[in-house]
Amino acid sequence: MHLDHSDPYTDAYLDPHSHGAGAVRPDGSRRALRIGLGGPVGSGKTATVAALCRALRDQLSIAVVTNDIYTREDAAFLLRNAVLPAERIQAVETGACPHTAIRDDISANLEAVEDLEDSVGPLDLILVESGGDNLTATFSKGLVDAQIFVIDVAGGDDIPRKGGPGVTTSDLLVINKTDLAPYVGSDLGRMASDAKEQRGELPVLFTSLTGPDGVAPVAEWVRARFAAWTA
Amino acid sequence: MSVHATARITAAPDGRGGTALPVLESDGPLALRRTRAAAAVPGTGTGLPARVTVVGAMSAPLGGDRLALEAVVRDGAALTVDAAAAMIALPGHRTGDGPADHAGYDMRLTVGESGVLHWLPEQLISVTGSDLRTHTRVELSPTARLVLREELILGRHGEAPGTVTSRLTVHRAGRPLLDQQLALGPGASGGWDGGAVIGGHRAVGQLLLVRPEFEEKPVAPRLLGDTAVLTPLAGPGALVTALAPDARALRRVLDDALAELYR
């Protein structure tokens, strides 16, 4: 069998609205921009999400979806730190396989983002945080519009050189914890040039969230994505 | 020689604030006695319930028997049915070379508007070689109240169990409220004693409460120890599902739950 325009399923294959990736909600309004944050365990994804919420919550209507390995730990962190009201944070359970929930079977995450839009919307921005995983974990385009990959200098300054889908193809690479570089012997210059080698023109930002307004460059990048989304 | 018997109870308001028993028919091994009711059911306005005790069914059913017990609680009446002793399912006689026929025991319970039924039989004990199939069907009016207890004990003390299949089907206002079937013992499908079904326990029980108020205020789900749980049904019912090593431990869990739900 071949697929041609007489195949009733062809349109369904090509119609992203049929499963949630389209830019318009069922009522015709524009849905929120969805940005995924992935990266290895301990690189500072949750801290980055918290800092982004603080930096952007006065200008944008934000919600967060977390994908924990052990359920609800990250959501609990965000709640404890009161970066958003509880009803704007949803935890997705991932069955010991966080990359599956953001890449191979995104149904639970799509349900979570749609529920958030229904319950606290209209929303401008939904941050979808992946559970800490390995360097190959990336988000499906059916789930997010852009993805940030967060690594840190303490995880080894050879990570950018090693590449992998997250480092190579993410829309933004964040290299976090630059304040630790002197203590762990990481060479920031080498990390920057390795990243450039792997990513070409795709942007790389260095952050230290311990400093005042340390997340500012990432927040700036998100604002630009949002401006493009609403243009 | 197998027995076919149907015993019947009808409870109706006696016109003086209590409940009369216009029908009380024993049949075969199912001997029914009117006994003294303990107390009115609080909050129902039905007065002292009529109480019927099943006294004769201890040695039945045998394989091949078909027993039935029908109870009708008319609008505004209150009935409590209990038993003098546990019911013991026994093996039947083999006819020719074939396996012994199973025994059947069906209960049909109907409760009218504002009626109250407390169905509190003793345990059903499944002994080695027996094969009993029981089905309890309950039809409740929208304002009816029900307390129903069901306990299955697999084997007398230290004995291998027989086979028992027990289904409980409850409709309220014509719609399904609860439908559960347990099939246990050597004649049941595999895995019945594994970690998904009863996991080596020998006493299995349910306690069901149906009250119109649960529609607005369902009970909160709660664990009652490691192997028992209280759950709200999708309709106005609360169910305790419990497993225990033996009959006594099971009864303790169900009694405690009943006392608490009646507080």
């Binding site: 009733p8 399923y9 369904a12 049929s18 499963h19 390995i69 052990y70 359920t71 609800r72 359970e93 991932t94 069955g95 010991a96 396989c97 599956t100 929930a101 191979d104 079977d105 995104i106 149904s107 639970a108 799509l110 349900e111 | 289904r167 089907t169 409850v170 719609r175 399904p176 409220l177 609860l178 439908d179 559960q180 079937q181 347990l182 099939a183 499908s189 595999g190 895995g191 019945w192 004693d193 594994g194 970690g195 998904a196 079904v197 009863i198 996991g199 789900p221 709660r222 664990l223 490691d226 192997t227 028992a228 749980v229 759950t231 049904l233 999708a234 309709g235 169910l239 599902t241 497993l243």
Partner: protein, 224 residues
């Protein structure tokens, strides 16, 4: 019927959320009732003949055109655990999304509109199978395989069980799965004439009890 469509629907990678659920295996592991391949076999067999049979019959009945809303109500009555009702509806909603994107059809659309928060998953699966041109036996097989493959996959992750042993358990359940599917379909045909009351109500007390405990855990790997 298309055998290939059956493979698509039965594939564990079909994106309908199943990967995050252990089918009660995580709670059984914690309680010490599931420690090795032998326990897994008993666990899966028990699940197959209880919740598996009931769910498979509902899926088959949905394929045969029994009113899905009546089935949904009857499924609620067969699911006394609110945690398991929530899981069934959550998975039903995820299955609905995947099915409508894969095999769109009016039956799925109508149920999605009537139960926007999700219908019981086997009913949605039945309608998906129907939309894919599959029959009641196919839907029953899908449900039954998922009933046992979910805990088997979870046991591999939770116990570091040898995956060959776990797959061996599934392979040895095949005759039981076939037999149970036939039984489920036979009752589904009865339900066409007599309504959902004719469907099985086989239940598993430990799955009901431990589902409530599991739902209250603060830290767990699986959603159910």
């Amino acid at each position: 019927m298309s055998r290939a469509a059956l493979l698509v629907l039965a594939d564990g990678r079909f994106p309908a959320g199943g990967h995050a659920h252990s089918g009660g295996a995580e709670a059984a592991v914690r309680a010490g009732r599931l420690t090795d391949a032998r326990d897994l076999a008993a666990f899966c067999r028990g699940r197959l003949h209880t919740t598996g049979l009931t769910s498979a019959a509902f899926a088959a009945a949905a394929v045969l055109g029994v009113d899905p809303l009546a089935l949904d109500e009857a499924a609620d009555a067969r699911t006394p655990s609110p945690a398991l009702r929530a899981t069934a509806r959550k998975l039903g909603r995820q299955m609905m999304r995947a099915a409508r994107a894969t095999w769109p059809g009016p039956g799925l659309d109508a149920l999605a509109a009537a139960r926007p928060r999700g219908a019981h998953q086997p009913i949605v699966l039945g309608l998906a199978a129907r939309s894919a041109g599959l029959g009641p036996e196919d839907a029953a097989h899908c449900v039954l395989y998922e009933t046992v493959s979910g805990p088997a996959t979870a046991a591999v992750r939770l116990l570091s069980l040898d995956p060959f042993d776990a797959t061996g358990v599934l392979a040895r359940l095949a005759p039981d799965i076939d037999k149970t599917a036939r039984h489920a379909v036979a009752t589904a045909h009865r339900a066409v004439r007599k309504g959902p009351g004719a469907l099985p109500a086989a239940s598993a007390p430990l799955l009901d009890i431990t589902a409530e405990a599991h739902a209250a855990w603060a830290v767990r790997l699986f959603a159910s």
